[in-house]
Amino acid sequence: MLTEIRFAGFGGQGILLAANIVGKAAALFQGGHATLTQSYGPEARGGASSAQLLISDEPILYPYTTQEDILVVLSQEAFAKFAPGMKPTGLLIVEEELVRVSDLPPTVHVFSIPATRLAEELGKRVVLNVVIVGFLAALTHIITKEAYLEALKASVPKALLDLNLRAFEKGYACGLSARQREALPEETAVSEPAWSEP
């Protein structure tokens, strides 16, 4: 089964690293396949930034998303650009303070998190992306938490691992409670593991 995920926001929010951690978790630590592509905005720096991640139990051909199962947006621009294209029953994760959600089909599951502020509270705004990853991890079951943690370890410099782990856990905790709050049904498209370990 193929799961399509997009992370989008602006430069400096660590969009790519977030997607990379999720992809790595899927491809290396859960034995599946993952294809991650970046789309830079018009400009290499500072502009819009977006990453598309496909995860599947079989080799992936077409490298881009067509209709996202999961959309993570960290800017209003990104919301406006990408929300219309996502799956109507998909999962939408937004940065609470930066994105105002509107005009969505009611079937979309929306979760928001003040990731930037939480990251700032942790002392480093830059870890907002890892907060988001933790949040995503708690909200979906496609990848095990262990795989995420392995991927995180393999992705960040040693000196910053501790901070990143705390960011992940912070997001994860928010995710769990949000999940409870919203009573996300177990049977949504995104709630089952996409494949099992071979």
């Binding site: 430069g11 400096g12 018009p42 400009e43 290499a44 720096r45 500072g46 502009g47 303070e97 930066l98 105002r100």
Partner: protein
């Protein structure tokens, strides 16, 4: 979300009260293209403010000013200024400007680009244009890095800096641009930082009015790719660093202007020569003499 913004922002009310006020830089911008692509705390926009003021102060007709950029973050300036403007190829702004100026000497031709563009890939054109003393004004935003491509080391990167292509730190010697330019023959050479906005605007104005090849180096922060990677803080911290370490020495020996990672930055106007004839002037005189009749300049044919 930013609901409280309106309340906090008293200025907006003022704007409503006095609608005739306008940002003085606005007429020089292609406003429909703002916000621009530059990062928070990037110095390039600041230099554009200075340039706009310099153009105003120079009293030159903006319709007769052309801006030519190469490729890079700094090279995007051509795209934002509301003047005839050319975004050329990487490194080739100066020869493009050379053709432009030679076709129509009435134009004030300004080359606005980055250090990598002008002094690495474009280095050959830089020295030969300086040698010719063609009346082109080169504004070099030196952020000590190749920014647009993601922060690779440049010929201008000081020693021991970490960049995308020098993960162990740079060990290559750093190019001293004013020194090179003086040896090549530029007749107007200055350096400021983005902190020194008033001085910069004044120098830009002088360069606009100088007849001959002019070169202004502007040390500018690239917080995203240079300062942060080198634990030098953000744009603001860099500006404070410039404030503290910028030492004005007009007429300083250009050989003394080497840049280091954290040392003083010597700034000022170093060279302003009137003795070398400008290229086109000299050409006209020369041909007039050789042809035995006034050389009628008629390159612009259509």
């Amino acid at each position: 979300m930013s609901d409280n913004l309106m309340l906090e922002n008293a200025a907006l009310q003022v704007e409503e009260a006095l609608p005739e006020s306008m940002n003085p830089v606005e007429p020089f911008l292609r406003s429909e293209r703002i916000p621009h692509i530059w990062c928070p705390g990037c110095g390039i926009g600041t230099t554009v403010n200075c340039f706009a003021r310099a153009v105003m102060d120079s009293k030159l007709d903006p319709n007769k000013i052309a801006v030519v950029s190469g490729i890079g973050c700094s090279g995007r300036v051509a795209g934002y200024v509301n003047l005839d403007s050319f975004h050329t190829t990487h490194g080739r702004a100066i020869p493009f400007a050379t053709g432009l100026k030679l076709a129509n000497p009435e134009l004030t031709v300004v080359v606005y680009s980055g250090d990598g563009d002008l002094a690495s890939i474009g280095g050959n054109h830089l020295i030969h244009a300086a040698r010719r003393n063609l009346d082109i004004k080169v504004i070099c935003v030196n952020n000590l890095i190749y920014a647009m491509t993601g922060g690779q080391s440049a010929a201008t990167t000081p020693e021991s800096c970490t960049t995308a292509t020098s993960p162990y730190g740079t060990f290559e010697p750093t190019l001293n641009l004013p020194h090179l330019l003086e040896a090549a023959g530029a007749t107007f050479i200055a350096r400021w930082t983005t902190y020194h906005v008033m001085q910069l605007a004044k120098t830009m104005k002088e360069a606009l009015l100088h007849k001959g090849f002019s070169f202004i180096e502007i040390i500018s922060p690239c917080p995203t790719l240079f300062q942060r990677r080198n634990q030098m803080g953000d744009g603001l911290e860099t500006m404070k660093f410039y404030k503290e370490h910028g030492k004005t020495k007009h007429g300083a020996d250009t050989a003394s202007l080497d840049m280091t990672k954290s040392g003083d930055i010597i700034i000022g106007k170093f060279v302003e020569k009137k003795d070398r004839p400008e290229y086109i002037d000299h050409m006209r005189e020369y041909y007039t003499q050789k042809l035995g009749r006034p050389f009628e300049y008629q390159v612009k044919t259509c």
